[in-house]
Symmetry: C2
Subunit: 254 residues, 2 copies
């Protein structure tokens, strides 16, 4: 079997490849950014964040594509589906992406940037210098959070936010039998998830169904909320987002 | 019984005082920033973040002082101890203070301020624009954390950081029989806690024992770590901290 890397294997691959080679001596691990037709004929697995229609067409034995990151916009999905080629990733980045969402939420409510900038200009936000409570940052404790897209990133987002006693509502397309851990509730209507949320975390992939899903009307439904998108950018209507930020519909966006 | 507020009751007190008054009709809740000797004679409880020696001396029936925040530096501790007056707070701020520590940790490793400033100048830190992995922010997943002062703030710090799969070592003066939740280990030697920690969270109060506890030698032991102090400022030797920041001993300080 031949496993082809279409990109030069980066740091972690170079650490793991010797192990893989010694444990799977029958497998050829090879790297070729411009594979010739002869190579492609024998390839059964491709590791790459993007694979063209031409390459898939030239690889008759292709059985699986491993995506060493996230995002499915750079693959000929129709062909992949029609030929039964498996396309997947390890979700290895989910915890980190969710951490990013939480870091941005805490920075926003915690006024990390404002305080940093003020401190650089010798302004200290102390409780005792007369500005009082109104000047202070805000805790996220017990805030109502909607996690739009209750997949792997959503799982970790819910887990981290639950540690801060947030109320976490998940939105998912496919109903679940049992409520996944860290969620307070799971809903299957995106608007139901958004209504009343103080923080909206979007983790959705870009698909025909999700593209532009967060439109002007939904942003209006989020009035006063903080919107954090760690999913794909085009899930949110960019112009509507710009308007919502400019007009103060959203409390913040990241 | 008379409960005296030495400061004008702020927002939350004004919300709760009607309830307290209706539930404790025998108790007089009063507010006086400059109480006269006659008032002080009958006072049994004082609510204030600072009480002078003169006031304690003039209040022979004083049984308790409630501190509506944190910090015990503004009380005549000798007299309070000698007379058996109870001094306490509700630890109501612990979750919020711990949240602050985590917000600063995530902002630091997440390069929140750097990315924000770059974005303001139209520099986008994307994976795909050629800067590659070296330019990226860092996750706190699985980092080794020392919580110096495993009290209430420490409890919440450990809880939040454990959600991110950090390894959390607590330092406490008084040995515990059972390991408190969220800690991986508890040690009673501060240097043992510091050694090997990538993040040091200090939550200590200011006492004769803790003042200057984090000195130049201990900062040197933290070489390469991020130090976050949400305890009292004078627990850390300020000049030593300045030097450690200037000389790159610490990776960061907040």
């Amino acid at each position: 079997m031949t496993v082809l890397f279409l990109q030069k294997p980066s740091g972690i691959w170079n650490e793991e490849l010797p192990w893989l080679r010694s444990h799977y001596p029958d497998v050829t691990f090879t790297h070729d950014e411009n594979p010739d037709p002869e190579t492609l004929k024998s390839v059964e697995v491709i590791v790459s964040p993007r694979v063209s229609q031409e390459i898939v067409d030239a690889a008759p034995n292709l059985k699986a594509i491993l995506l060493p990151m996230t995002g499915i916009t750079h693959f000929p999905l129709e062909t992949i589906k029609a030929r039964g080629i498996r396309l997947g990733n390890s979700h290895g980045n989910s915890a980190g992406v969710a951490e990013r969402a939480v870091a941005m939420i805490l920075a926003f409510y915690g006024k990390i940037i404002e305080y940093h900038n003020d401190l650089k200009e010798h302004r200290w936000h102390g409780f005792w210098i007369g500005r009082g409570l109104d000047d202070t940052w805000e805790c996220i404790q017990e805030k109502r959070v909607a996690v739009i897209g209750a997949g792997e990133i959503g799982h970790f987002s819910a887990r981290y936010l639950k540690a801060f006693d947030c109320t976490v509502t998940g939105f998912k397309r496919t109903p679940v039998d049992t409520l996944p851990p860290y969620y307070d509730s799971m809903v299957y209507d995106i608007d139901e998830a958004i209504d009343g949320a103080e923080i909206v975390v979007v983790t959705l992939p870009s698909t025909n169904e999700t593209r532009g899903m967060i439109d002007a009307a939904r942003l209006e439904r989020m009035r006063g909320a903080l919107l954090v998108n760690v999913g794909r950018g085009d899930v949110i209507d960019e112009e509507a987002l710009f308007n919502a930020c400019r007009d103060g519909v959203l409390r913040g966006a990241a």
